[in-house]
């Protein structure tokens, strides 16, 4: 059980490539933190620095209040689950789990107890004598988890552990990882590029972009109040509609194209306006209340995904395309015109220059 503290951690590779640019995070004991971002955002580098597999250029990393900058990975009291599992191919499952414990000089009986216990939790007891190559992808994943569990570490580090699994197994293992982490209560740092995985697992999300933190917060906070256009478009699927708007005589209108009118609460000349697909409602024969968003757009495509459908529609006069979530029973023909609205509370205003959220 431990807290992890990162204080303005930087990583500069040879040739002045700055992969991580001064990241600070305080991770509470037992917390499940997910580092999420597109590839190349520095999330894996950050995780590997916590593990001790990469040197820290500047800044400090503390695990359980102990400065670990110069501590060997083996002595940081952490366990790591790798994307390709990194199981020792020539060792049985049992020895894969036991290897780290043996190296620490643990007593045989204790090793045996821990391995059996981990095997019971992960339901891999019957495979203990097998070699990794005789296991399926899901089973290998469990062994990789088991190798982390037996160490009873201060923290688990996960490096995209589910990305080698097929979609169905991925969902199943996702649930299992979360349940396991809850019952063990071990501080965890999890790296993924999959925003859905990030949302479902995290106590708190850390959204990274180009080596910097864009936002830290609970999944719902991040979803409801994205701090920037980057977060807004990265979290949520389909992504939030982001429209370039400018102030006109009657509130805000599109910078390019026609068919939108929105309130202007901040009194600025231009914004990026964000609206989530599920916050747009079709208005049938009613009038749009004053001060609400009003959109007129032409349907391009109706995309049913089962429980719901998505409508892709365009503004007139060369305006952008937007996505609207509708019920699966809706029948909007391509070419038909839609009148849409949204509650002003669900509109997100971003600075058009730096993409930062405007509040107040």
């Amino acid at each position: 059980m431990a807290t992890i503290t990162l204080d303005t951690v930087r990583k500069v590779y040879a040739g002045d490539v700055e992969a991580v640019k001064g990241v600070s995070i305080n991770i509470a004991d037992g917390e499940f933190i997910v580092l999420v971002g597109p590839s190349g955002c520095g999330k894996s580098t950050l995780l590997r620095m916590i593990a001790g597999l990469e040197d820290i250029t500047t800044g400090e990393i503390k695990i359980a209040d102990r400065l670990v900058n110069n501590v060997d990975p083996a002595d940081r009291d952490i366990a790591m689950v790798f994307q390709n599992y990194a199981l020792y191919p020539h060792m049985s499952v049992y020895n894969n789990l036991a290897y780290g414990l043996k190296n620490r000089g643990m007593k045989k009986a204790e090793i045996d107890r821990r391995v059996k216990e981990a095997a019971r939790i992960l339901e891999i007891g019957e495979y203990l004598d097998r070699k990794p190559r005789a296991l399926s992808g899901g089973q290998r994943q469990r062994v990789a988890m088991g190798r982390a569990i037996v160490r009873e570490p201060a923290a688990f580090l996960f490096d995209e552990p589910l990305s080698n699994l097929d979609a169905k197994l991925r969902v199943q293992m996702r649930v299992e990882i979360k349940r396991l982490q809850r019952s063990l209560g071990t501080t965890s740092v999890y790296v993924t590029h999959d925003q859905l995985e990030a949302m479902t697992l995290a106590d708190r999300l850390v959204v990274l972009n180009k080596g910097q933190i864009e936002q830290i917060g609970s999944p719902i906070e991040v979803y409801d109040n994205p701090a920037s256009t980057f977060v807004a478009s990265f979290i949520g699927s389909p992504a939030m509609n982001l429209l370039e708007v400018k102030a006109g005589e009657a509130g805000l209108g599109l910078a390019k194209g026609t068919g939108l009118s929105a309130p202007n609460p901040h009194g600025k000349p231009a914004y990026k306006l964000g609206i989530r697909p599920e916050h747009l409602h079709v208005v049938d024969g009613q009038t749009v209340p004053d001060g609400h968003l009003s959109i007129t757009a032409t349907v391009n495509v109706l995309e049913p995904v089962g429980a719901e459908s998505f409508v892709y529609a365009s503004f007139a006069d060369g305006g952008p395309e937007i996505v609207i979530r509708v019920s699966s029973h809706a029948r909007h023909q391509p070419g038909s015109t839609l009148q849409l609205t949204a509650d002003p509370a669900n509109l997100h205003y971003f600075d058009p220059e730096n993409g930062q959220r405007l509040t107040g």
Binding site: D72, P73, Q83, A86, Y99, N103
Partner: protein
């Protein structure tokens, strides 16, 4: 699509005959006595002198060489083949490990020095090599026979290629599991290299066993002769003799080829894998 024709099998059978029949004839020759062969030419059916011929070649000194019999030469061949293969594997595994898994000053210089040996076969630097070994007093010693042959970096190159293909995450996992450089090498890398070691062992054993020029130069004392080296001795008896001992020459040839052939045939799949993959 690929309809099999009789001609395909015919070509293959001809190929097999071309490859196999010389050795079969050599074997048949080794089962006759010298006079039969000399009087009525090469025989095409086995004779009755096999046991006698092989016994003579294996256990009677004299004949081709004055002091040693086939048994001693067989032992020397084994020492050369095994010593060379094992020495080369151990030395090159260590060197490749240093090159791939360590960051250290002069690392790339060491790399280039070692791999420059791939440029020049022993044959082109044979005279100075001989003189150096001689000046070190290593003529007519096993180490003089074996060690200079190890200088070429072929196996180091193979192991380097193999280590590079081992996923980085294994090293990372091992470091988190508390394994230092030695432990990682012994516990993880060596067991992982098992097939590779086996393949290289076979290739190197055959290579060492079949050495001819170097043993010819470095061993003048007959008690150090290998079987392949012994072939040269046959020639000197052969030149100018009235009735050459074809049967004993061929018996020695068969004995000299048997161990490497057996090893290659039995461990065929490993050997081919090592040969083909390591050259990539």
């Amino acid at each position: 699509m690929n309809r099999l024709k009789l001609s395909d099998h015919l070509i293959l059978i001809l190929g097999v005959l071309f490859m196999v029949s010389p050795v079969v004839l050599a074997f048949i020759t080794s089962t006759h006595d010298a006079l039969t062969i000399f009087r009525s030419g090469l025989q095409f059916t086995p004779g009755d002198q096999m046991v006698e011929n092989y016994r003579k070649v294996m256990f009677e000194a004299g004949g081709f060489t004055k002091q040693v019999d086939g048994w001693v030469m067989l032992q020397n061949s084994l020492i050369l083949g095994l010593g060379f293969a094992i020495g080369k594997i151990v030395i090159s595994m260590l060197a490749a490990y240093a090159i791939v898994y360590f960051r250290f000053p002069l690392g790339s210089l060491c790399f280039w020095i070692i791999f420059s040996t791939l440029l020049l076969p022993l044959e082109v630097r044979i005279l100075p090599s001989y003189e150096i070994v001689q000046s070190l007093g290593m003529v007519n010693t096993y180490s003089g026979l074996i060690v200079p042959l190890i200088a070429s970096a072929t196996a180091t190159f193979f192991f380097r290629q193999f280590y590079m293909s081992v996923p980085d995450e294994l090293l990372e996992a091992a470091r988190i599991d508390g394994a230092g450089p030695w432990k990682f090498f012994i516990d993880i890398l060596v067991p992982l290299s098992k097939t590779m070691i086996a393949a290289i062992f076979i290739i190197m054993f055959v290579f060492g066993w079949n050495q001819y020029l170097w043993p010819t130069l470095i061993t003048t004392d007959e008690s150090f002769f290998t079987l392949v080296r012994g072939i040269r001795q046959i020639l000197q008896v052969w030149v100018g003799s009235q009735i050459p001992d074809y049967q004993e020459a061929m018996a020695l040839a068969i004995i000299a080829m048997l161990p490497p052939v057996i090893v290659v045939v039995i461990f065929q799949s490993w050997f081919i894998k090592g040969l083909v993959e390591s050259d990539k």
